[in-house]
Homo-oligomer: 188 residues x 2
């Protein structure tokens, strides 16, 4: 029988205790996300392959939902801010929520047709990600961006489409502020 | 098509903006929860039927999950702290999370067999409520207790069993501190 439990969420470090799983994505694993891959390689070298983000999760067999945290480092590759890979859900009815605990960022979303959208990420805002929308988190601040996510255990993460085509929009720094522009290499 | 949205959660008032639904439970509606119903009636009179708790939710047709806040007033009826009705989920695989934003409380849980459990509620703790466990929130502090809850839209709320039988344990004040005791009138 599954037992109730109080799970500590540290809004400064993003730690989940107890966590049932964790993984880290370093810049060398994410170079394909960025427009300027030479610059990504230089940053991997200069910063000794920094952690771009880390996922900690609490998932119990027999439960229909699970939750966890994503903790994103601040940083850029050229004009592009650090970002997550981005994914569609495989299940057609599967929504998700991202509840920001610390820092500031932009949640970039798109449908399989042409629509794109952004939702602000900051403490006190819980972003609702409806079924069908691919989503990517982007840390546009100077501190860690930490959010709690929650969804059905069976959502299914489809990373392939976004990795292959990119997203239609990019979030880039312009005079130190985030700006949304068209992705010049989308689909290639 | 459902659109993404940033939903503001006010951790001081418990407000959800935009909310898609809201309801309030006043003491007169909850008198049956307490051991001392004469005292409950007196408190209804004395405090002009105070709000014991309020639920605000964000629920979109087409989404498999939804979330909201519960905002509980501090207060007691005799030795018993203000509490929610308590419920089982109708769906056998349906878990829930309660992420405390403000205040302090106790989450009281029980299975249909004899097992009871408590989980502490305080900011930074996300309580995991596994399938099969009835759950009731109890505000043991002197301030509002506010938590964000999240679960599948189709969990189904079965309030009847707990209303009829009560829960096996009570949380009562003893020297101003919460104490867990057996419910002398359980099942009656």
């Amino acid at each position: 029988m599954l037992m109730p439990e109080g799970v500590a969420i540290d809004s400064i470090t993003g730690a989940v205790s107890p966590a049932t799983g964790r993984y880290t994505k370093r810049l060398s694993e994410l170079r394909e996300l960025f427009q300027d891959r030479d610059m990504a390689d230089k940053e991997v070298e200069r910063l000794q392959d920094p952690v771009v983000y880390e996922i900690a999760e609490y998932r119990k067999p027999g439960s229909d939902i699970f939750f966890g945290t994503t903790t994103m480092s601040p940083g850029r590759v050229g004009r592009e801010y650090y970002m997550t890979r981005g994914h569609f859900h495989e299940r057609q009815d599967a929504a998700e929520v991202y509840y920001t605990q610390h820092g500031e960022g932009i949640l970039l979303l798109e449908l399989r047709d042409e629509q794109s959208m952004t939702v602000e990420m900051r403490p006190g805002l819980c972003a609702f990600i409806p079924p069908g929308w691919a989503h990517r988190s982007i840390n546009t601040g100077s501190e860690k961006l930490i959010f709690v996510w929650m969804c059905n255990v069976a959502v299914g993460h489809d990373y392939g489409d976004i990795l292959k085509r990119g997203m239609r929009k990019l979030v880039v720094a312009r005079n130190q502020l985030p700006e949304l522009i068209d992705n010049p290499s989308w689909g290639h």
